[in-house]
């Protein structure tokens, strides 16, 4: 169902699908695999020597859900604590967030919780938050138990999956789960892209960009 290659698949026969556009931000401690998850989702690749992210990077990917085409505008942020001051600029107006931690490192889970709190306080109240326990391929070095994270996610109403950017496990799935949970009425569509993001998503993004797919 999900389509990795970038152009949206048109569901058989139906010529007119709804197009929704959502702004999604990735947050989490440095080196937990945020950029790798995005790279896997957008390009189907994994780079062992992924470069660190300074400031932020922007990518887009489209997935098709039944008769709806969902276009993600993804902001991948820098993980280092110091770049924290930039983060609000990216999550402001975001409809979805993936907070990532590394299952082999307990501290990154703690940091993920802090991000969730910050989002709950500062971001849009309707934001869909997913928690991703990444590097699942290293389960033999696990420091964060699945159940612990699941419980935490349930208590806070988060989507939760353990993922691996390396093996691609659950990568598309987590984005799809988010896409499913996002409201896809006309209003959301209109909002998508312009949002409250003062600067990040104004301009002519909405209509023109969406026009690229599912015409």
């Amino acid at each position: 169902m999900a389509n990795r290659t970038g152009t949206a698949q048109r569901p058989n026969g139906s010529t007119q699908g709804k197009i929704c556009q959502f702004k999604l931000v990735l947050l989490g401690e440095s080196a937990v695999g945020k950029s790798s998850l995005v790279l896997r989702f957008v390009k189907g690749q994994f780079h062992e020597y992924q470069e660190s992210t300074i400031g932020a990077a922007f990518l887009t990917q489209t997935v098709c859900l039944d008769d709806t085409t969902v276009k993600f505008e993804i902001w991948d942020t820098a993980g280092q604590e110091r770049y924290h001051s930039l983060a609000p600029m990216y999550y402001r107006g975001a409809q979805a967030a993936i907070v990532v931690y590394d299952i082999t490192n307990q501290d990154t889970f703690g940091r993920a919780k802090t991000w969730v709190k910050e989002l709950q306080r500062q971001a849009s109240p309707t934001i869909v938050i997913a928690l991703a326990g990444n590097k699942q391929d290293l389960a033999n070095k696990r420091m964060v138990e699945f159940e612990e994270a699941q419980t935490y996610a349930d208590e806070n109403g988060l989507l939760f999956m353990e993922t691996s950017a390396k093996t691609a496990m659950n990568v598309n799935d987590i984005f799809l789960a988010i896409a499913k949970k996002l409201p896809k009425n006309e209003q959301a569509t209109a909002q998508g892209g312009s949002g409250q993001g003062r600067r990040l998503a104004e301009g002519d993004t909405g209509a023109k960009a969406a026009g690229n797919c599912c015409k």
Partner: protein, 826 residues
């Protein structure tokens, strides 16, 4: 005739090759990432060997990686192995003493550097024409991590000490004393004039060596002599030599002397007193060029080590099908593969042919080896051949042209030798281009590195754990890892130490992600000199990134980005208007550009070329690089909306670096300095006067889309390049006629209607402005005029090079009345 300088018999080199151990299957490290290939670890370790320069040691020149973990080691190779002489009865006892002295001196040098040879034999002791010796291939054990990184044993049957045999195959026993044993065996061969146990098979030879352990209290030398029917010779040997050999061949390493101890023996006194070269601490002796340079030129002239190894049959390719295993288990282990004999050690050495290079350089006259630097005599100049001219060629070609690089390297070696007194000349020459071979040193000179930076670096605590460590540790394995040096274990360690040292040394600053990338070029160029890499980084940051690494650097970065926007507006109003219209601000994409001066954005080879020029400029140069990157992408940007633009920068397309550099240089030179003046720039590198721009707040800066120009720059332009400037005075006509700047035009602010972005609105002078192609347009007003609307209007109309005089007319009136005229008097 002049080639004779090149054909020094000691300036020759050869190569050996071996395979590093292959990691089994697709094993991963504890972080889930692939293990660093062993050949890369070898390359990292071997770099240190290149620093060893010693008369009795062949100099290491290069370590290259081939396919499938093949490793090629290039080093000086000259003279003939001692083994060729052994049975020819060549050496007098005095000559043997001298050889012993030189081998021990060489070993002492190695052991001091914690390098164990482990491989010493008469095959890799090379006798020179002048009868001195040089050890060859002494670093194999060291570079392979005490043999851990290869699958063959590093030892020499016959020459290896008993304890080497007794060590387990995977043991990393590395006692320098085992080399001393080997010296003993070599000396016996020289004295007895025969190779030992020549007729025996390998296993028997080993048994012979091990059986020596039994002569615990008797003489090993005597026993060997008897076994070779040489007891008579043995008895005639003078005691000093006999004792020396005996001391080398003590069974227990703990009883064996060290090289240093042996060298103190009376028998060597003559050599030691004779051999005290008058080494000056102040100034190293100058060499016109070294074997390093020769190797570099040889490569440029088409020399190819791999090609030579293939020609000699050292590298043979076998069809890949032969290397298929019979069985592969799910876990990835393979079965049924015959051991490839090529993975064993092949002791052959291939001498590299130099004739082609000699021929190529044959016509270069001797005078070119000794370029005149300070002389400005017309007579001498006219007697010189015309300089080799390559200035018209693209940089990439110049860097590959052997003859051009010959001249550049010779010249720069001279200049660097005279540094710091030659700083000006280095600057001048570096502005043409920098020879890649000497880039590290030239950069250090451009950054004014001098003094005892090594001791300073030594003093810094680089070990104590800090809270920054985790961040540094996760960043290093992501930093320019395509590069062999930076991805090697040694490279990681060094980068970590330098970063920790910097954080320790700069307590007012903190580690920001990106500092790793910034350090990478310096480490790459000074891989064997961490202290210098650190000194360069420490000099670079205050000059180009002053305050960028403050814990709260937002003011500094925002100011820099605001200046960037203004610079775009100044040179390319069209692009600036478009980016402004789609809300595409530099803070979305340019933070990594400027925080790391593009070192996080481009691959190393591009950074080197950009920084070659950056180091000649000041902290505004990165703005110009940024502008030139945008310029290259201009058409795509102009045709794109927000999303496409930002995608473009998330995955930056190929940038033509030579174009980028030349365009940056052009705008850098044509832009008055004050256009890019910042509050946060380092005053040390930007002296200012009262007429310069100061106290502009960030808010003002963000509002003003056109930059300000200082009165200093303005007055200079009016005086020296009046044709380059168009002054627009927007005060009211009365004020204008009372006093105004020479040649200025008056467009009273109140006379313009700003509604529509059309130049006609400015009235009679609109064509004058529209035709101003290369002029800088300076808007002058005073307290009563709005200094933002009018320039912004010009910008919207697509007028380029618009700036505003800082301080307005009143500043001019008080400071430099000489450029003013009074119209009423006329």
């Amino acid at each position: 005739m002049p080639v004779s300088l090149l054909t020094d018999p000691q300036m020759q080199f050869g190569a050996i090759t071996f395979f590093a151990k292959l990691h089994k299957g697709d094993t991963c490290g504890s972080n889930g990432l692939p293990l660093t290939p062993n050949s890369i670890i070898v390359i990292g370790k071997a770099q240190f060997l290149k620093t060893i320069k010693h008369p009795y040691l062949c100099q290491y020149l290069d370590i290259i990686r081939g396919k499938h973990e093949r490793t090629v080691v290039v080093s000086q190779y000259c003279g003939e192995p001692l083994s060729n002489y052994i049975s020819k009865e060549q050496f007098t006892l005095d000559e043997i003493r001298k050889i012993a002295f030189q081998i021990l001196t060489a070993l002492k040098e190695l052991h001091q550097r914690k390098i164990v040879h482990r491989n010493l034999s008469t095959d890799n002791i090379l006798l020179q024409q002048n009868k001195d010796i040089k050890l060859f291939n002494y670093g194999l054990y060291y570079m392979t991590g005490c043999g851990q990184l290869v699958s063959f044993p590093i030892m020499q049957v016959l020459y290896s000490a008993p304890e080497v045999y007794l060590d387990s195959p995977s043991g990393i026993f590395s006692d320098p004393k085992s080399d001393i044993w080997s010296v003993g065996i070599v000396l016996i061969e020289l004295i007895l004039k025969k190779g030992l146990w020549q007729s025996l098979k390998l296993g028997q030879r080993i048994r012979k060596i091990l059986s020596l352990i039994q002569c615990n209290n008797s003489s090993v030398f005597e026993r060997i002599a008897r076994e070779h029917n040489c007891f008579e010779t043995y008895e005639t040997i003078p005691d000093d030599l006999k004792n020396l050999v005996e001391a080398c061949l003590s069974i227990y390493p703990k009883n064996r002397s060290t090289a240093e101890e042996l060298l103190q023996r009376e028998m060597f006194e003559d050599f030691t007193t004779k051999k005290t070269p008058n080494k000056s601490k102040v100034c190293e002796p100058f060499e016109v060029f070294t074997i390093n340079e020769l190797y570099h030129w040889w490569q440029l002239a088409g020399g190819d080590v791999f090609q030579e190894l293939k020609k000699q049959g050292l590298i043979r390719s076998s069809p890949p099908i032969l290397s298929l295993p019979n069985l592969v288990s799910i876990e990835g282990s393979t079965l049924g593969q015959e051991r490839n004999p090529a993975t064993l050690y092949d002791p052959r050495i291939v001498q590299m042919p130099l004739d082609a290079l000699y021929q190529r350089f044959a016509h270069i006259p001797l005078t070119c080896y000794y370029p005149l630097i300070h002389a400005t005599s017309k007579i001498i100049e006219s007697s010189m051949p015309p300089p080799y001219d390559a200035t018209g060629l693209p940089l990439i070609i110049r860097e590959k042209d052997p003859e051009y690089q010959f001249h550049r390297v010779i010249l720069f070696r001279r200049l660097l030798h005279g540094y710091p007194y030659t700083k000006e000349l280095i600057l001048k020459e570096a502005s043409k281009d920098i020879p890649p071979l000497l880039r590290g040193e030239v950069w250090a000179a451009l950054l004014s590195i001098k003094g005892d930076y090594e001791r300073q670096y030594l003093r810094i605590d680089k070990e104590t754990p800090t809270t920054t460590d985790r961040q540094i540790e996760v960043d290093i394995p992501r930093c320019h890892q395509y590069n062999e040096l930076l991805s090697s274990t040694e490279g990681h360690k060094k980068l970590k130490r330098i970063l920790k040292a910097w954080v320790y040394q700069n307590s007012n600053y903190v580690y920001w992600q990106g500092l790793d990338s910034l350090t990478a070029p310096f480490l790459y160029l000074n891989f064997n000199n961490e202290a210098k890499a650190f000194a360069c980084l420490s000099a670079f940051i205050p000059k180009y990134l002053h305050k960028f690494f403050l814990k709260d650097n937002s003011m500094v970065i925002q100011e820099y980005l605001a200046k960037f926007s203004q610079l775009i507006a100044f040179h390319d109003p069209h692009l600036a208007n478009h980016l402004h219209y789609i809300n595409f601000y530099p803070e979305l994409f340019a933070i990594p550009w400027f925080l790391t001066v593009f070192s996080h954005v481009f691959p190393l080879y591009k950074i080197l070329h950009i920084w070659d020029k950056l180091l000649l400029g000041d902290s505004s140069f990165p703005l110009h690089i940024g502008l030139s990157v945008l310029t290259q992408l201009r058409d795509r940007l102009l045709n794109s909306g927000f999303n496409e633009c930002i995608l473009l920068f998330s995955d930056l397309p190929e940038v033509d670096i030579e174009k980028c550099v030349s365009y940056s240089m052009a705008t850098f030179e044509s832009t008055p300095k004050s256009i890019t003046t910042r509050e946060h720039q380092n005053g040390k590198f930007h002296p200012t006067s009262e007429l310069d721009i100061s106290s502009v707040t960030l808010q003002e800066l963000n509002r003003e889309r056109c930059p300000r120009i200082s009165a200093t720059d303005f007055v200079n332009l009016v005086r020296s390049k009046p044709e380059k400037i168009l002054t627009i005075d927007i005060r009211n006509p009365v004020q204008f006629s009372r006093s105004s700047v020479m040649n200025s035009i008056n467009i009273p602010f109140s006379s313009v209607s700003f509604g529509e972005a059309s130049l006609e609105n400015v009235g009679q002078h609109s064509t004058r402005i529209a035709n101003s192609k290369n002029e800088i347009i300076v808007v002058i007003g005073n307290e009563e005029t709005d200094l933002e609307l009018f320039p912004k209007f010009l910008l919207k109309c697509g007028v380029s090079r618009v700036c505003v005089l800082h301080g307005g007319f009143s500043l001019l009136a008080s400071a430099t009345p000489t450029i003013l005229i009074s119209n009423t008097q006329m």
